[in-house]
Amino acid sequence: MFAYITRRIGMMLLIIGGSSFLSYNLMAYSSNPLSVFGESTQKNKAFLIKQMIRELQLDVPPPVRFFLWLRGAVAGLWGHLDLGKTRLGFPVLEVIGRAIPITFRLVIGSTILAIVIGITIGMITAIRQYTRFDYSMTFISFLLFSIPIFWVAVLLKLYLAISFNDFLLNPTIPPQVSIGFGLVAGFIISGIIGGSRKMYFAIFAGASVVVAGLLEIANVTNWFLQPGLGIVGIGVLAFGIAVVIVQLSTGLANKRSLTAGLATAGFVTLAYYPFQLILGKNAGILAVFLIFSISIFAACVIGNFVEKIDKKVNIRTAVLTAFLATLPILLDRFMQVFPEYYNSDGVHGRVVPTLGQATDILTDAQRNNFWFSGLDLLMHLILPTLALTLISFAGYVRYSRASLLEVLNMDYIRTARAKGLNERTVIMRHALRNAMLPLTTILVNDFAGVIGGAIITEKVFGWKGMGSVFNQALGNYDLNLFMGVFILGSVLTVLANLVADLLFGVVDPRIRIRK
């Protein structure tokens, strides 16, 4: 194993070296930094040209100059990484170091969302193959697959952000819109659950009425301006999450698991008020960690004491429930600052911004308030995250659908069904795991492709991350800056490939890594 990894890392270094040589020369030969002087009439033009040639070492031919650059980069292996200076004189490392967190903030949320939603929908369409739900989702994913992200972004800005902000001026949803939302929700939910024709329409009607009713309640209580979940909302969500998790992992017939899940949900609901004390006005990220650890610890205790048999399964169910049920409490806490946020000077009631990564004009008090600044970040993330998610989730729907369909045709699935296992066990235990195998490679590689994905999104939404650094590098013929972006991207890709291979060996015992 160790030998394998060392060999792989050696190979990685060679590949990165080769590809950076290639792109260094490509960039060096394709751009001419001296062209800025082309039409210059300055008297000291000759001097300026000479100065630039000396600064950028333009007298050294690019293939040789690459090795001057490489010396600094290779020093990174023993901790003295030096990627040179940008054209404006800042160290490349510093510029990139400042940009990375912003890009990751942008991309990680949307990547995770796209993976979770995409794989879920893909798997459901595979299970409900050739149904109306399958056809509509397939069409939607094809459509999203063919849309340029900058086009979606403009539509989202107008139809989502601006209309929602206008809507907040007078936040009542007209009845026909509520009914429309209700019908769409009914179609989706009944399509997912499926069942006989009678069942389908019952679920369709039920879901439509519930969603339309919820929107009407939101109207009456002025929820959109004073959002919150309250202990009732948390309770409903927590018990709902518990039931779904128990149903998916062990089935509702397993009373021990069900007890553990419901008890955990009850605990989280009761903990709502105590948690409010922890998540006070001056709380920070530590408080968030604290409430999650309390919930999870409590879940372990509950899972341990609920029954003597099957402890492991009970604890797993309880911990999952606890984690997912604590998330709404956090959401509720952010919602509590919403009225304050809505009325603050920097926002002026336009809560969904279309540009930028944070509101510039926050007072110090607001900036230091974890909840206020956190809500600000979340609001700025909504549009870019949605745009990136919409574009990339289509791919996951296609891949996971194809992969699960292939697995469902396998002999061992027929065996599992033939020996009398119920559909839940067949899907969750036998099919899902095997269908996930080919997806791991795609998942890991997508995490590495973040920089490419961010370039356009950042430009559309005016963020200052890796994408804008890259644009700046190309616009200014900034070779060192460009190589900084490049090396980060390629190292991520190569590392992701290594992780994917290692992970593949772990999830699939049939694949052994050669020693």
Partner: protein, 359 residues
């Protein structure tokens, strides 16, 4: 030829379903064609794409060559992207006071009083009075050109490199795959940005050629995997025992069986090429003014979306129409080439047979 037969007889033996009756006596190509034509959406997309291509190229004409030595074939649309018609744009002012509104009126006169017709600028004109149809068709022409060139180069290099690596294996495979990895680690847009910033102003053909030279890696990997499995099959051994040369084995025995993989990932490459080109032009690294591309048009007029929505909808609609039909065609081809996908045929037979019994 032997390889093809092998695959066919195998599928007939193993399925043993009603599909057998229908596949009997059909060549592999016929089965694939039949399966493809059953995929209604794919067939529709194919015809739609052909129609769109003809429409776009015939309306805008062909414009190649340099500024000093242009090679021009005029299209049937009277205006070109360099013709400015501010008067016409002023005449077609719509309710908001915005000039250059679409003059197309598809509602018959007995409903809204004004007669049906296209007018001088059916889908409007831009802020200086250039006909939008001329711009959008020219942009679509560029996109299609990029798509074809990138696709052709990508498929050619991908197939050759993948085939050589997969067939010969050993040290050749190792070297070729490391080179593939070397190209693969560079994010596409980063590479495209560098290429575009240098070749974008030369026109779309050099840009497409350069992009095509860096578009073969994914396909090469797929083809290699396919070749690795196919070269172990019995029919390859049989051919070798019969004394066939490497060349003959590759072209006559393995390649026909790998065509499915090549075509399917080729279509992915095509739709990817369209989106890459529009993204590059949007970022300003692709096609440069005065020439246009769909991405550039969207980038230029995205801010005037509220006052002049046609400037935003039409270029986007063309990109989506092209990419979507390519994706659907690819889906149809994948179903057609997948030997395990016998469900469509089996299903069709099942539906048919009880009717026959009744009659």
């Amino acid at each position: 030829m032997f390889g093809k037969k092998k695959v066919k007889s195998q599928s007939a033996e193993t399925t043993g379903t009603p599909a057998t009756r229908e596949t009997e006596g059909l060549s592999q190509g016929q089965i694939i064609r039949q399966k493809f034509f059953r995929h209604k959406v794919a067939v529709f997309s194919l015809f739609f794409l052909i129609f769109l291509t003809l429409l776009v190229f015939s309306s805008s004409g062909i414009h190649l060559g340099t500024d000093t030595h242009p090679i021009t074939v005029h299209g049937w649309w009277p205006l070109y992207i360099l013709d400015i018609d501010p008067v016409g744009a002023l005449e077609s002012t719509c309710n908001g006071g915005m000039t250059g509104c679409p003059t197309m009126d598809l509602i018959p006169s007995f409903i809204d009083g004004s007669p049906m017709g296209f007018g001088a600028h059916p889908i409007g004109s831009d802020d200086i009075g250039v006909d939008w149809w001329a711009l959008v068709t020219r942009g679509a022409e560029q996109s299609l050109t990029v798509m074809v060139i990138v696709g052709a180069l990508g498929i050619f290099f991908g197939t050759v490199i993948g085939a050589v690596a997969g067939f010969f294996g050993g040290i050749i495979d190792a070297i070729l795959m490391r080179i593939t990895d070397m190209f693969l680690v560079t994010p596409t847009l980063v590479l495209g940005g560098v290429i575009g910033s240098r070749f974008g102003n030369l026109g779309v053909v050099p840009l497409a050629i350069m992009l095509g030279l860096f578009a073969w890696m994914g396909l090469a990997r797929f083809v290699r995997t396919e070749f690795l499995t196919l070269r172990e099959r019995e029919f390859v051994d049989a051919a070798r025992v019969a004394g066939a040369s490497n060349r003959r084995i590759i072209f006559k025995h393995i390649l026909p069986n790998a065509v499915g993989v090549i075509i399917v990932s080729g279509t992915l490459l095509l739709s990817g090429a369209i989106l890459t080109e529009s993204a590059l032009s949007y970022l300003g690294f692709g096609v440069k003014a005065p020439d246009v591309s769909l991405g550039l048009l969207i980038s230029n007029y995205q801010d005037s979306f509220i006052v002049a929505p046609w400037l935003f909808w039409w270029p986007g609609a063309f990109i989506i129409a092209i990419a979507l039909s390519i994706n659907f065609i690819g889906d149809g081809l994948r179903d057609a080439f997948d030997p395990r996908q016998i469900r469509t045929i089996g299903k069709a037979v099942k539906v048919k047979s009880p009717k026959k019994a009744k009659a």
